[in-house]
Each structure stands twice: as C-alpha cells, then as structure tokens.
C-alpha cells in the first residue's frame, strides 16, 4: 500500500455494516470514537439512544482556520440534509443519518460520510482554485493543521501554491526526508503532468518571508506549484485535493516505513554475522572414556 487512503476506512466499514443490519430489520446500537491523521476525532453514536438514527461527529483542532475559508458552506453543499445544526458538544460538525430512510445505495452514502475529513480540507482548496480560475490573486490561507506544522495556500494569476511546513522529530529523519524530497523535486522527469515540487530545509521559502514561519534545523518546507490543468476539470480537481491534503502524512509514513525496513535489514545482517562468529568455536565432541579402575565417564 503505497498511497494513503483518503477516506476513513473504519467509518466506511462501520456504516456499511450498520446500514446492512438495519436493512435486515435489526438496527444495532453504536458508540465508537475513531482517530484519524492530524489529531482528528470522529464519534459515531446514537443520539438520545435512538437506534434508528446514527450521528457522526468530527472534531478538528484547526476548524476555526477552515471556517474562515468557507468550510461550513462547502460542507453544506456536499452533505445537505445530513448536517444537523445541533452539533455534539466538543465536536465541530455533526451529520445524522436516519436508518429508516436509507437511500437506494447505502454503500455510496457510507463512502461519502467517510470523506468528511477530506471535505473539511477541500473547502480551502476549492476557494483558491476558483479564485485562480477567475484570474485573481488571493492572500495566503494559513491552516495550523498540526501543532507546529502549518499549511499555506495562496493563489496567483497563473497558479496556486500550497506550502507545507513540517517538523522532523529526529535528526536522522531530516536526512531521510531530504532523500525523499530530492526524488519529488525530480519527479517531473517521470511524468509531464506532475506539479512542480520544491523543498527548503531550515529556512522558509521566499513566499513566506515576513510571516512568523518557523526556522530551525528540524524544519522543512515543501512547496507544490499547481497549474490550472491540475484543477480545471472537476475529476482532476477532486484527485488533486485528495492527494495534496494528506501529503504530510504520506511523507512521514514512508519515512517511518523506511526506518522499519532498515531495522529489519540490520537485524538480519547481525544474525548472519553471529552465525559466522559461532563457527569459530570448536565443536564439543562427547566421548566416553574409561579409567584404569574401570569407571566410565563422559568427556
């Protein structure tokens, strides 16, 4: 599995299973809290204990940042009637599904709900893509999607720039991260349609000069330059948003996988060397010997 899934698998499967059991006539109760990337929490439960309704709530620490860029409006347009005004306490958005009026294709509905986190992010991107396609410029949107890590989106006349700032907790991670980013930078050789990717270590890129962007040996900045062809057509736009919003998690996931792989290699090599060393020990032969008086002993 190289690419990360952008819909929440747990929510999807949970809902499909519950919809099926409801269709069979026996709705089951549900009360589950699910965590997703970037500190996002989902809570699936029955409001007021009513087994025929399922409420799905999401909590994002940075929802305020997204709200400033029209997240509410976008989510309304996607989920429509599913959204309820009475949001669960300590959560940001709640959707409610009534098991009695399920649509003809409940799996589709489950998939749509599993995309809730992605759709929260999508609002920012959609707004900036639209601004750019009208030829306008827009100031930078700042989303602090993780502690100390931020995403900046800005639109210029001919492109949209998305900049991720990320922290590498370990010094070795910085070097492994650099190897990955080197390949991303050169990715255009492989595929002509790929966006331009730039990487800056320790110093924020020029576009962020003047903001309070972090600096330091463990900080990296990744810039994606998206051209209109990446988001003009709605299908491409959807794909672009799907991939970009999980980029930081994608990178760190693969850094961790590489470290695990290196570790398993080292372990294999160490056992092999140990075998070689043990060949240096002479074999102990057990022989029976006799003394003059006739007692036998083993040596």
């Amino acid at each position: 599995m190289i690419l990360l899934e952008f819909r929440n698998k747990i929510i999807e499967e949970l809902l499909i299973q519950r919809f099926k059991s409801a269709a069979g006539g026996k709705p089951e109760g549900v009360d589950i809290t699910v965590a997703d990337f970037d500190g996002v929490l989902f809570h699936v439960s029955n409001p007021d204990g009513d087994k025929n309704r399922i409420r799905i709530s999401i909590s994002l620490k940075f929802y305020n940042d997204l709200q400033q860029h029209g997240a509410d409006g976008y989510l309304q347009s996607v989920y429509g009637d599913l959204m309820i005004g009475d949001v669960e306490s300590s959560y940001d958005i709640s959707l409610e599904v009534s098991l009695e009026n399920l649509p003809s294709n409940p799996d589709e509905l489950a998939k749509k709900i599993a995309l809730l986190k992605r759709n929260c992010f999508a609002s920012v991107f959609e707004k900036y893509f639209d601004v750019q396609s009208k030829g306008g410029e827009k100031s930078t949107a700042i989303v602090h999607y993780r502690e100390q890590e931020t995403m900046y989106v800005s639109a210029q006349k001919d492109r949209v720039t998305v900049i991720f700032s990320t922290i590498f907790t370990d010094d070795d991670d910085v070097i492994i991260g650099k190897v990955f980013m080197q390949e991303f930078k050169e990715g255009r050789r492989g595929s002509q349609t790929a966006p331009q990717v730039l990487f800056s270590h320790a110093e924020p890129p020029q576009e962020l000069e003047g903001t309070d962007a972090l600096t330091g040996a463990n900080v990296g900045y990744i810039t994606f330059v998206l051209f209109p062809r990446h988001f003009k057509d709605p299908a491409t736009r959807e794909k672009t948003i799907n991939l970009i919003h999980t980029f930081r998690d994608y990178l760190h996931y693969h850094i961790k996988c590489s470290k695990a792989y290196l570790h398993s290699r080292m372990r294999a090599r160490t056992t092999a060397l140990l075998k070689v060393l043990n060949r240096a020990r002479p074999e102990v032969k057990v022989t029976e010997k006799k003394t003059i008086s006739g007692r036998t002993f083993r040596k």
Partner: protein
Amino acid sequence: SILSFNSICLVGIDMRISRLHRGGEMSATLKPYLNAVRSSLTAALCVENFESQVVERHNKPEVEVRSSGELLLTPVIVSRNEKEKVLIEGSVNSIRVSIAIKQADEIEKILCKKFMRFMMMRAEHFFILRRKPIQDYDISFLITNFHTEQMYKHKLVDFVIQFMEEIDKEISEMKISLNARARIVAEEFLKNF
C-alpha cells in the same frame, strides 16, 4: 613471545596503480587492504594469560588498562585511504581492533551510525565486540586470551575480515534501497496528477 611493529603502514602502492579505472577501484584496492589487515591481525593475536601486576588476583585485559608500558605493543594502523583504516593495538593478553568505515555522504553517515549502534547494543552476543568505539573510529573489538582459548584464532581473524566486507556491502545496499524506495514513493504520488 611479544612482537613489535612499525607505527604506520600505508597500503598505497597497489592502490595508486588501480586508481586509473574508477569502476574497478573499489574491488582492486580492497583485496590488498584486507590481506594486510589479515596478516597484521594474525600476527597480533599472540596472546596468553597474564594476571594483573597491579591488583592481586585480578585478570584484566592489559590493552584496556594500559597501566604498564612493558606489556603493550606499538599500535599499527592499516589504512586504505584517509577515511578507511584499521587500528590494531596489542598487548600481552589482549588486542583491540578498531575500524573506521567509509562514509561518503550524509545518508551513509547515518546508516553507518545506526548500524554500529545496533550491533554495539548486542555486544554481549558477539563476545568480542566492544560497547563503545575508540575515539575517531566507528566500531571496536576487544579480543582477550580467554576468547582465543575458546575459539580458533584463524576463524576469529576470518570473522573480522568478513565483518569489514559485509558492513560496506550492507551500507551501500541500504542506501540503494532507500533511494529506490524514495523514487517509487515520489512516482506513485506524482503520477496521479
């Protein structure tokens, strides 16, 4: 019997000739280097039991204690180039072998560091491995007379030589696999745009 050596021996002559072809450079200089290390090790591994002169009823590896000069031999460095060398310090009852591994760039540096740390944490399994390397070197072995009494000397030397070869191979393989993985990850991501 206690032997004595010259202080530094550079295995340079063969290597300068083979510097003509870059591709063959690595393997052409490797053989003479490893042979020089092998013969130096075999000569140094003449260790015998020796009780401590300083503390009653104690038996310490003299190469670590270094308290009495007459028990120590002159150290020998066998170097392939400035970055790759082996330091062999001998004494009456123990020898210390320290290896400096080739680390051409940052990624090789961290791979080497991780690998050496991994092994040194398992030093008790390896018997002859030292938990900390000597200053300026990446990994050290401590071989005492007790080890030579329990294990064949020529096989111990074989082990150290094989160790040196395998480390280099492993580090370059890990680096290649890391680069390959990075390329695949980037390709998978970008081809979807």
